[in-house]
């Protein structure tokens, strides 16, 4: 469902945000791994292979994300 | 100076400063100097200035070759597709179809490459040109897993090059040593991990067996201890997940194994063909 696998997402979270946030976000990511998530994600966050773009940074950045150029 | 020489003089000026021929000359000089990026632009310019449709196909072909030299097969194909093949001679038509097939092969689009090769064999009647494209045809057949066709073409190649039939090479083509994907899946269905072992992945086989077996054992022990929720939601669920995952993984192992064997076979064939192609 997701562009990056659950294990890669965990690794990145631990690396960028530490152990506590890593554990909590990894557990949360496991519960979010469901086919229905694709319909709930805006199309700008879905890549050409119909996988959801999900980065740990999305959860901690307050500014709106600007993706690739038009 | 005689008055009669004036028209000749004016023609000379015109010829010297004719835009199309200057552009073409410049493009050719850039091509010879291996400045393919710039040469491509000037071939397009020559095409733009050209008033002769029969020359246009040649210009497009040269432009396509510029992109081929830069390894930009997509751009090469776009330009080859612009060529009006129906207006071309047999030998030029051959060159166009061959280059299309080759660029599709190099960009790993094997089914399209096979289609262009079919067009080449259908539309080009000159059999003396056949030998060169046999090399590419055999490689495309192997990539498309059409080993019998590849073997037939290989025999034809050996005949045309007057070589004695190489039975070892033909045997490799007729009976490639691949693993059966369905068999790997069935073996894993019978015993988790057996499919991986069939393809030589013994570590993964052991892992798969232990995980599936462990989950099943946990489920059984839970049932015996009357822990039914644990038996169903942990034991049975994980056992099913590992079992289904193992089936899929055994197929993937078989595919990987076959891919490696195929690449080795194609490398062997390529070496053999390039050695014997005169």
């Amino acid at each position: 469902m997701y562009e990056s696998s659950c294990s890669n997402f965990s690794k990145n979270t631990f690396r960028q945000f530490g152990i506590m946030k890593g554990i909590l976000l990894s557990a949360d990511r496991l519960t979010r791994c469901t086919p229905g998530a694709l319909n709930e994600t805006p199309s700008v966050f879905i890549d050409e292979k119909l996988k959801i773009i999900d980065e740990p940074a999305f959860y901690f950045r307050s500014a709106t994300v600007y993706l690739k150029n038009n | 100076m005689k008055l009669q020489s004036i028209p000749a003089y004016l023609c000379a000026i015109f010829l010297v400063t004719d835009s199309f021929s200057q552009t073409l000359k410049y493009a050719d000089s850039l091509f010879r100097a291996s400045s393919f990026k710039h040469a491509a632009v000037y071939y397009e310019k020559a095409l733009y200035e050209s008033a002769n449709p029969s020359v246009n196909n040649q210009l497009l072909f040269k432009k396509a070759i510029c992109y081929k030299q830069q390894l930009d097969y997509k751009a090469e194909l776009e330009n080859l597709h612009r060529i009006q093949i129906q207006l071309c001679s047999d030998s030029f038509r051959y060159a166009c179809y061959y280059e299309k097939s080759l660029s599709l092969y190099l960009s790993k689009n094997y089914s399209a490459a096979a289609q262009e090769m079919l067009n080449l064999n259908f539309f080009v009647r000159d059999s003396t040109l056949r030998l060169k494209n046999l090399y590419l045809e055999i490689l495309i057949d192997c990539q498309m897993d059409l080993y019998e066709e590849a073997a037939v073409n290989m025999i034809l190649f050996m005949k045309m090059e007057k070589l004695s039939p190489d039975s070892a090479m033909l045997l490799k083509l007729k009976h490639p040593a691949f693993k059966n994907i369905q068999k790997a899946r069935l073996m894993s269905a019978f015993l988790p991990g057996l499919g991986q072992a069939y393809t030589g992945q013994y570590k993964d086989a052991t892992f798969s067996f232990l995980l599936t077996g462990g989950a099943a054992a946990y489920g059984i022990v839970s049932v015996i201890g009357q822990y039914y929720f644990s038996a169903v939601f942990t034991g049975a669920t994980f056992c099913y997940r590992f079992y289904a995952g193992g089936l899929k993984y055994s197929q993937k192992c078989a595919l990987n194994y076959n891919e490696q064997k195929k690449n080795a076979l194609i490398a062997d064939i390529s070496d053999y063909l390039s050695l014997h192609l005169k």
Partner: protein
Amino acid sequence: MARLQLTHLFSLALLSTTLLQDIYSQNKGSDSRFYNYLLKEEMFLEADDYIELNPDIFSTNDSLNFNHAYVKYRLQEIDSSLIYLKHVPPTSPLYVSGNNFITQIYMNQGKTDSAKKYLAAKKSVGSPDISSDIFTLQSSGLALLDRDTAAYHKQFYGALFENRELFQQHNTLNETFNELKKVKKKSVLAAGLLSALVPGLGKIYAGNNAQGFSAFLFSGILAAQAYEGYYRGGISDPRFIVYSCLFSLFYVSNIYGSVLSVSVKNNQLNSQINHEITVNTSIPLRYFFGH
């Protein structure tokens, strides 16, 4: 006789010079026609290369910089495009168009303050060209990007367009504005409390129904197994200890995830809307400057 020959030579020389000059200017004209042909056929790589080899096809440096910037923009080489655009001076007739592009680039990158700096530069007054329409369109787009409803209303209701296509683009922008009005801001505290009450409910509140349901199932199954362990073996049962730890972990992570998912969802919706705004404002630029 000698005088006659001299006269002939002189006439020939004059004729040759005139002919050569004429052929030279025709070639130069054909060079720029070829460049326009490359743009029309969308062969931007070739156009880029051609400009680098023949900068003199443009009569002025400004025209060269502007055209080079446009080709780089179409090739998605945005940094190079910006550099060329900023070389077009205010005295140039292409300055306003250049600023249109710079504004659009900054809007695409979310740098609304920089975009406004180049937008406020010049608006063509009086002449029936498209630059004033583009100014209006970009101003509306910027107001929407800043979520400044008052400024947007002022731009939209005061807008007069010369060009029909740009007017329609402006209407499309208004549809995006209407979509924006429907977006309700969710409370982070409410999401957290709901998830604490029932695992997964906070995510459903944030708009992620499938994810909320999945979280509920996860926690529910772990809770059931923990309860079973406690029921069968008491508080010291290993299953009870393991499953209750796992349940606690997923319970807390669900609350944490629900709280974050509200802001993530807001960000995602904002990004989607911003993307629609910038696509709407960039379409006219490609259409009008590519032909």
